[in-house]
């Protein structure tokens, strides 16, 4: 494992955007277990950063920290210059997409999508309008009155995405949102997600096990070490935007995927943790 970060050649554009997330020396301890020890992270506004790493290394924990859902043992995290839990209340609109759709079964799709607005006290008319707009963006406008149970897995994920977009987030945290989907649907949603990001340019932090997905979506990919999580390697993805699914056939794409896989393998291999599940 190489200490710190091993930066890659492809320097991306727009590195002078202001920092949105600054984390240094983060330590997280669950009882006797160190989930994180000295994690450093900087994310600029408008970036799309993917986190890849072995299962159980602490990727979800990173997202929870950024959303201010989890206390840390030590270290500094600033989101727009503030504590994450304060930032999400006062400075930055944050949205979270969880691994499963987490829709409320007793609410219609539209009512689920507008939940963030409802909690923020937005009026009923505006809620309906913006929910429909978000649903249109993910191609679910016709299903506004349906209930989650009546949707397929892919559609539920789309609805969850619409809910996350509904409050026009500035920071969008996505935790393996497409893990449960088949490859075709996943690639389709990848394209849609990237188009949505290009359109609105929120800052994205995306956790995934799928390296091709990470390369396809991101401006930067971070490889995390097994627990305790640290950033083992960093890749700037200079692939031109907008990107379409055909990009996956390009040699440059294959090269980047190969490089990230190698970095991931390199940091997993030697001391294979005793309680580490294989990915």
């Amino acid at each position: 494992m190489q200490p710190g970060t091993a930066a890659c050649a492809d320097r991306a554009e727009g590195t002078d955007a202001p920092l949105l997330v600054e984390a240094s020396g983060i330590q997280v301890q669950f009882g006797p277990l160190w989930a994180m020890r000295d994690l450093n992270l900087q994310i600029r506004r408008g970036e799309f950063v993917s986190l890849v790493g072995p299962s159980g290394c602490g990727k979800s924990t990173v997202l929870r920290l950024l959303a201010g859902l989890l206390p840390r043992t030590a270290g500094e995290i600033r989101v727009a210059g503030a504590e994450p839990s304060v930032a999400r209340r006062h400075q930055v609109r944050v949205s979270f997409v969880f691994q499963d759709a987490t829709l409320l079964p007793w609410r219609s799709v539209a009512a689920n999508v507008s939940l963030p607005l409802e909690l923020a006290g937005v009026s009923r008319e505006e809620r309906a309008c913006r929910a429909l707009e978000a649903l249109t963006r993910v191609g679910l406008a016709d299903f506004a009155r349906y209930y989650p149970q009546q949707l397929s897995g892919g559609m539920r994920m789309r609805a969850a995405l619409a809910r996350a977009l509904c409050n026009s987030p500035e920071l969008l945290l996505l935790d393996e949102p497409f893990a449960a989907l088949d490859d075709l649907t996943r690639r389709q949603l990848n394209e849609e997600l990237l188009a949505l990001w290009l359109r609105d340019r929120w800052t994205g932090v995306f956790v995934t096990h799928n390296i091709a997905e990470a390369v396809f979506l991101s401006t930067r990919v971070l490889v995390l070490t097994p627990r305790p999580a640290r950033v083992a390697a960093e890749f700037h993805i200079g692939l031109p935007l907008p990107r379409s699914d055909e990009l996956r056939g390009e040699p440059e794409f294959a090269r980047l995927v190969g490089a990230v896989s190698r970095a991931l393998r390199a940091c997993v291999q030697p001391p294979y943790g005793s309680d580490q599940r294989p990915t």
């Binding site: 987490t102 963030p116 909690l119 989650p148």
Partner: protein, 260 residues
């Protein structure tokens, strides 16, 4: 035609079984020559049921109302108690163990006590029915209010939901299926509670409930009538259960939750 055939296939076997049982029962009584006050013939039961149809019906209505009142009271009270438990860790810690423990107290034991407190009237029966059906509601709803999915709780936290919003829009709606499940259990218990209560209290000879009828007919060795009363109690229980299942199904369908 197909539906008729399917209906016949569903109803045929149990009907056949019933008829066979009745024939065997009748044959056994005739062949063994057992005393009628110990074991009446099916025809005697039918005769008694027809003879006392009006009394049985009145008794069933009375018992049914007592059970229903008790059930409603227990659902209301149980929900309130469960809500209090879910809101206060201190309350839950100190009292919830007893809520589980009290569930095991046999209702037959406390029925006479309730009667000596509330008198031999309708009120006592309602109280007994309510007490016996209270705990399933309390334990189920408490579980439901507390067992909110962690990710859903985080979802509400990310969007800065207040405690009140989380309660109204997440915890309470999420507990509805639990309430339904608890109420379904309580439903059967409330009928049992009412009948047991009446066996001790009755409402006086002028207007007996099913439990009182059972006690009276047993005392007078009117066994055929006793059988009819037991049959009526069973039918009342079935009615309660069917209505509860139907209501539960409707509510859960509206809630769009998979029926367990």
């Amino acid at each position: 035609m197909k539906t008729v055939a399917r209906y016949a296939a569903a109803v045929g076997p149990p009907i056949t079984f019933l008829v066979l049982t009745l024939i065997l029962w009748d044959a056994a009584v005739v062949l063994t020559g057992v005393e009628r006050y110990l074991m009446p013939r099916p025809a005697d039961v039918w005769q008694a049921a027809r003879e006392h149809a009006l009394t049985l019906l009145r008794a069933a209505v009375l018992t049914g109302s007592a059970a229903l009142c008790g059930l409603c009271a227990s659902i209301l009270l149980g929900t309130i108690v469960a809500f209090a438990f879910s809101q206060s860790r201190w309350l839950r810690r100190s009292m919830y163990p007893y809520a589980i423990f009290l569930q095991t107290v046999p209702i037959v034991g406390i029925a006479p006590l309730v009667i000596s407190w509330f008198g031999t009237g309708f009120a006592s029966i309602v109280v007994i029915a309510a007490v016996i059906s209270l705990f399933p509601v309390v334990t189920n709803v408490t579980t439901g209010l507390l067992a909110v999915d962690r990710t859903l709780a985080e979802l509400f936290a990310v969007y800065n939901a207040t405690r009140r919003q989380t309660l109204l829009k997440l915890r309470l709606p999420a507990a509805v299926p639990y309430l339904v499940a608890g109420a379904k259990t309580s439903c059967g218990l409330s009928v049992i509670g009412a009948i047991v209560g009446e066996m001790f209290a009755g409402y006086g000879a002028a207007m007996p409930g099913l439990g009182a009828l059972i006690a009276q007919t047993h005392g007078r060795l009117e066994t055929a009538y006793l059988f009819a009363a037991i049959l009526a109690s069973t039918l009342l229980g079935v009615l309660f259960f069917s209505v509860a299942s139907l209501a539960a199904g409707t509510i859960l369908a509206r809630w769009h939750v998979e029926t367990r």
